[in-house]
């Protein structure tokens, strides 16, 4: 194989083996397979996926705390729990953190963990870049949140409209952190998108044609394409803002003739695909969970796939429905109103196909399934209210009121987050080797459903009664008291429900440990896709042998034979069919220091842009060093034998032979 020659600047294989004689020993690959160092240097897509998830959970606590502060403030009229400034920071950071640092990375977590498993690959196409994507997202997110301690968070709203985001109207550094932090995190999203698309398109197991890919893979593919094309538009908007705020440009200087709507157009050309790329991975998840627990294939697989693709395409043509009252003129408003209504069609197809999958099924109502059905019902409510503001005249009454807040929380919390939690319960045994407790899971679900509807249901009423968004307070006489109070009570129930995911993980782990860590088996749910054909937790090398795929839901068809039309008979259990997890002869990508090192240079540069350009010197030096280290790093460290899996002689020979 020509692989080694393929990396011309890298040191020859084996040169790194003897550090004493190797002047460039620093470029050797790290060796740890456990412990902190392993997590910091790993390039394993499963570990990176888990880190994405953990980081998102951490940010969820921050965003959730901000949300609770908002709800305490709004529980009573004229409350003084938060000052106007603190409230503005809290709602801005709540939105920003939840969108960019919670929902998007949870999607990335599932995508990272599952895509290679579901397409039958050993890892993603570019494992080191995968690690880089994660670290750069994490550092961007952390940098954004350091603004809390460095002069206050951003206060311009997550949409951050110009010219209020300019240095004149927002003189604090909050918006600089928002801008630079998200620019950095965006780099991670972009590299992640390139990586995951390449993985799905190019690294499918033999026989895994596009129309045999699980729906989750399809939805993630669409998501990553949306990211690939949406992130650069946000990047441009943010660069214009960066130039304005930090380098004296005048893109949004109204006195020089600038049009503030430029920001809105750029932001929403990014922002609307963004909405779909948050929800589509969750659609993918429930499209795996529902068939598994209904014991039926997904109803209308091609429609599920193409409706997802259609949503992806249509998502680019509807951005101006965020701007119906911005003064676009009746022609644009009519066109975008018309286009927006039709995005309900593919979404409706998905919902009806899920219901049709439930139809005639034998449903196992465990927590994962409950959350999946939760998504179907709660998301539908958000989808229906969406139609009422696709109708632009009606939207002139609804936009920027709590009706919209209700709408997108039903879509993003009741939709995306419910889907993600469903996926968490579903794939937890695959990732960690034990199931989450069902009793606590049910409590988790019902607390969340109750709290969620108590919190966001009343907001429909509040919005239609005229309560605008982003208000730090309201008056007694406005008639908003009752439902605001109810929503605030609900938010605490919801917070407890959401926290119960973590509580359940802890309780379940303790119980599992106390029982002597019993093996949950490779296929605890009688699953349908390839990830259930390997042991739990998934071995580091994924598949002992690259699977050969012959059908959609291939693993299911191995377990069940069709005896007559539509009737199945079990011929084998998942445990019998699963690969034993023997990594003999499998050669894996070695860990690397450079992804985290290179990523760490980004916030240094970011702080430099905000505070002092002198910081760019160490930042750029770090980046250059990181890039060279990355490039010069030996292709692999073949002489590590204690890597948890061996390398057979063939592999060495193979390399040498070419």
């Amino acid at each position: 194989m020509a692989v080694i020659e393929n990396n011309p600047m890298a040191l020859p294989v084996g040169e790194s083996a003897n550090r004493a004689s190797n002047p460039l020993g620093v470029f050797a690959r790290p060796r740890a397979v456990t412990g902190l160092k392993d997590w910091l240097t790993t390039v394993d897509h499963k570990k990176i996926g888990i880190m994405y998830g953990s980081a998102a959970m951490f940010f969820l606590l921050i965003g959730g705390a901000a949300a609770l502060a908002l709800r305490i403030q709004l529980a009573t009229p004229n409350s003084s729990f938060l000052s106007a400034d603190a409230y503005n920071q809290a709602f801005t950071m709540h939105g920003t953190v939840m969108v960019f640092l919670v929902v998007m990375p949870i999607g990335a977590a599932f995508a990272n963990y599952l895509l290679p498993l579901q397409v039958g690959a050993r890892d993603v196409a570019f494992p080191r870049i995968n690690a880089f994507s994660f670290w750069v997202f994490l550092f961007g997110g952390l940098m954004l949140n350091t603004s809390w301690f460095l002069g206050g968070g951003a206060n311009g709203g997550w949409f951050n409209y110009a010219p209020n985001n300019g240095i004149i109207y927002s003189p604090s550094h909050g918006i600089d952190f928002w801008n630079v932090g998200l620019l950095i995190a965006g780099i991670g999203s972009l590299t992640g998108a390139v990586n995951l698309i390449t993985t799905v398109l190019n690294m499918r197991a033999p026989g895994m044609t596009l129309m045999r890919m699980p729906v989750f893979v399809w939805m993630t593919l669409v998501t990553q394409f949306l990211l690939l094309f949406a992130i650069p538009v946000l990047t441009v908007a943010q660069i214009l803002l960066l130039m304005d705020r930090n380098f004296g440009a005048s893109f949004f200087a109204v006195d020089l003739g600038a049009d503030p709507l430029l920001w809105q157009h750029l932001f929403w050309i990014f922002g609307h695909p963004e909405v779909y790329l948050m929800i589509l991975p969750a659609f993918g998840i429930v499209s795996e969970v529902i068939p598994t627990f209904a014991r039926k294939p997904i109803f209308g697989y091609p429609f599920m796939v193409f409706s997802g693709v259609a949503i992806g395409f249509m998502g680019w043509g509807v951005w101006a429905h965020h701007m119906f009252v911005s003064g676009l003129g009746p022609l644009s408003v009519s066109a975008f109103s018309f286009a927006t209504m039709f995005i309900a069609v593919p979404t409706g197809v998905k919902v009806l196909n899920w219901l049709a999958t439930l139809w005639g099924g034998k449903l196992t109502l465990n927590t994962a399934m409950l959350f999946a059905i939760g998504l179907v019902t709660q998301f539908t409510i958000g989808g229906i209210s969406g139609v009422s503001h696709a109708i632009a005249p009606s939207d002139t009454q609804q936009t920027d009121t709590y009706y919209i807040v209700a709408h997108f929380h039903y879509v993003l919390f009741g939709g995306a987050l419910f889907g993600f939690i469903s996926g968490l319960y579903f794939w937890w045994p695959k990732a960690f080797g034990y199931k989450l407790n069902e009793g606590h899971g049910k409590f988790n679900f019902w607390a969340m459903v109750l709290g969620f509807n108590l919190t966001f249901g009343p907001m429909h009423i509040l919005g239609l009664q005229g309560m605008p968004r982003r208000m730090h307070t309201y008056d007694d006489a406005m008639g908003f008291n009752l439902w605001n109070f109810v929503a605030s009570i609900g938010s605490f129930i919801l917070a407890i429900g959401t926290l119960w995911v973590l509580v359940n993980a802890f309780i379940s782990y303790r119980a599992w440990k106390a029982e002597g860590r019993p093996d949950v088996g490779p296929d605890p749910w009688d699953g349908r896709t390839l990830e259930w054909a390997i042991q739990s937790p998934a071995p580091e090398h994924n598949f002992d042998v690259t699977p050969q795929v012959t059908a959609l839901d291939d693993f299911w068809h191995q377990k069940y034979n069709e005896v007559e039309h539509g009737k199945l008979k079990r011929v084998a259990t998942g445990a019998e069919l699963a690969q034993p997890g023997n990594g003999e002869g499998v050669h894996l990508p070695a860990p690397s220091y450079w992804p985290i090192f290179l990523s760490a240079s980004m916030p240094v540069i970011g702080y430099g842009v905000i505070f002092s350009l002198w910081l760019l010197v160490p930042g750029l030096l770090m980046m250059t060093a990181g890039l060279f280290g990355w490039a010069l790093e030996p292709a692999d460290d073949l002489d590590i034998d204690d890597h948890g899996h061996g390398h057979d002689a063939d592999d060495h020979e193979l390399v040498g032979a070419h």
Partner: protein, 275 residues
């Protein structure tokens, strides 16, 4: 087996912010053996990727697709800003005039007109009508540097061809030629920026200045990144490591280089040629 068959680890890991150095390394940081899918037990597999296109090349195409949106948004911003700028200039917005020509320009007005919006408007309306912002461009000069940049694409093709044929002498000549022509373009851009700045087109003084410098500057950074990549290829070539089965590396740099050229054709047309 060719390297196209090998999934690989590339360095398309950076967005344009850190463009230059990163883009260069993007290519250097070529594939490693640590790819995931095709090792070990499945040697029987013929290592073909699902699309038959190498991972690196697919990734490069995806990255360039993303770049299209980046430049698309920047060009749209430029067009909008320029239109708004010209409208305000023709209307005699004194802020625009001051931003473009400095306080002195406003103060150099005849007595009695200064501070009087009506008259300032009138005077500059005439000025704007006679000489809109375009004459600041030196079209022949920029046409020359654009021509050089376009020719560099040809050199890039020849460098790739030489690499495939194992003709290392020509490979080095054409790589060096490509890099040199790119550098001439960048030199031209630096000269142009300096002249414009001295003529009073500041970065922040007008919408036009902001949009012009940002758009062309972004493109310049991309070209610079390409030059660094070419230099790295040249070094590899002299170290004897850029042989014919590494032709894909040259091809990838070539893809990027051609993309940057095509973008320049667009920018040149939109910024310089369309009045």
């Amino acid at each position: 087996m060719t390297d196209t068959a090998t999934p690989s680890d590339t360095g398309l890991d950076v967005e344009d912010l850190d463009a230059a150095a990163a883009d260069a390394a993007a290519d250097l940081d070529a594939p490693t053996a640590n790819n995931a899918g095709d090792h070990g037990a499945d040697e029987h597999d013929d290592h073909a990727t699902s699309l038959g296109l190498s991972n690196m090349k697919l990734a490069m195409w995806l990255f360039l697709g993303s770049e299209c949106l980046l430049f698309g948004a920047l060009i749209s911003t430029y067009l909008l800003s320029k239109t708004r700028f010209l409208t305000e200039l023709v209307a005699g917005n004194p802020n625009v005039i001051e931003g473009l020509m400095g306080e002195e320009a406003v103060e150099a007005l005849p007595d009695g007109t200064r501070g009087s919006i009506e008259n300032v408007g009138e005077i500059f309306q005439e000025m704007a009508a006679e000489a809109s912002v375009e004459p600041i461009f030196d079209i022949p000069f920029t046409s020359f540097s654009s021509f050089v940049l376009l020719m560099s694409s040809l050199a890039m093709v020849l460098a790739h061809k030489a690499t495939e044929e194992g003709d290392y002498k020509n490979q080095r000549i054409w790589l060096a030629a490509t890099a040199t022509m790119g550098s001439i373009f960048i030199g031209g851009q630096i000269a142009e920026f300096t002249i414009f700045f001295r003529e009073g087109l500041t970065f922040g003084g007008s919408l036009f200045g902001s949009a012009f410098y940002t758009l062309t500057g972004f493109h310049g950074v991309h070209v610079t990144g390409g030059i660094v990549m070419l230099m790295a290829l040249l070094i590899l070539s002299f170290r004897g490591k850029l042989n014919s089965d590494r032709a894909e590396t040259v091809e990838l740099v070539g893809l990027y280089w051609h993309f940057v050229d095509v973008v320049w054709v667009l920018i040149f047309t939109i910024v310089y040629l369309i009045p």
